[in-house]
């Protein structure tokens, strides 16, 4: 039960949140300009970082905001991301 720091609500249990994916895995701006191979890599090869990664989490059972969380996937250690705010 990781304790996620929501910049709006403070520290909350993980069951108030939904994981929203690695920040690096950003939707391409111009999908049409990509080759089939590039597109497939975007779709199927998510980053899956071992170690610290910046992630989107949705505080769906709280303030409903999307927040950035930095999490170490080795041991679930958390730290505040340098941009200490939601994406709005």
């Amino acid at each position: 039960m990781i304790f996620i720091h929501c910049p709006h609500c403070g520290d909350r249990n993980e069951d108030e949140f939904t994981y929203g994916g690695d920040v690096e895995h950003r939707r391409p701006d111009k999908p049409d300009a990509m080759s089939d191979a590039q597109w497939c890599e975007y779709i199927y090869c998510v980053p899956n970082t071992k170690g610290w990664a910046k992630e989107h989490w949705w505080h769906v059972r709280g303030c409903n905001r999307w927040i950035l969380v930095e999490r170490n996937s080795i041991n679930n250690e958390l730290r505040k991301p340098d941009e200490d705010s939601g994406s709005e």
């Binding site: 929501c6 709006h8 609500c9 403070g10 909350r12 249990n13 069951d15 108030e16 769906v60 059972r61 709280g62 303030c63 409903n64 905001r65 939601g86 709005e88």
Partner: protein
């Protein structure tokens, strides 16, 4: 039968408006409603005429008004914010209200609320949007009796009543 010393009751509907928008929209709301909408999540303000504005996050509020007033308020707000980016939605039936009160209310609530509701950090007048058991709620710690008003999505109303009854029961 009696378990914890609390009482649980469903409250009558209220009018609710879901208000979203940036600072301009907030200013417009403040002017029309004659209040200062808080910008800090999990805060609330009350007005003299009994309205309550719960701040869900810095650009998102839930305004509780007397039932029957919601459409008037909504239309007035819409007029006052015509050219401003905003979303005002009538959500009066999205939420059902349940009241938990009595000396052992906190013992019942703590069975399903994972945030800290110790009066030192959650004094009377506090509010929080958080889970109770397996649903999402807006908890309002009304007074020290203690009394908690709980807003719950209306399809979960019976579940919440059942859950509270279970949590308060002896067996």
């Amino acid at each position: 039968m009696a378990g914890y010393n609390v009482s649980i009751k469903a409250l009558a509907n209220c009018g609710f408006l879901d208000l979203r928008g940036g600072n301009d929209a907030r200013q417009a709301c403040n002017e029309y409603l004659d209040i200062v909408l808080p910008t800090c999540a999990n805060k609330l303000v009350k007005t003299a005429n009994g309205r309550i504005a719960f701040c869900i996050s810095s650009n998102h509020w839930l305004l509780q008004v007397a039932d029957g007033n919601q459409m008037d308020v909504l239309q007035s707000l819409e007029r006052s914010s015509a050219d401003i980016s905003h979303s005002f939605v009538d959500v009066s039936d999205l939420y059902a209200r349940i009241q938990l009160s009595g000396p052992e209310s906190r013992d019942v609530l703590a069975q399903g609320v994972s945030i800290d509701i110790h009066p030192r950090v959650f004094p009377p007048g506090s509010t929080a949007r958080t889970g109770i058991a397996k649903t999402t709620t807006q908890i309002h710690y009304v007074n020290e009796s203690p009394t908690y008003d709980i807003l719950v999505f209306s399809s979960f109303r019976q579940y919440m009543l059942d859950w509270l009854a279970m949590a308060a029961a002896k067996s």
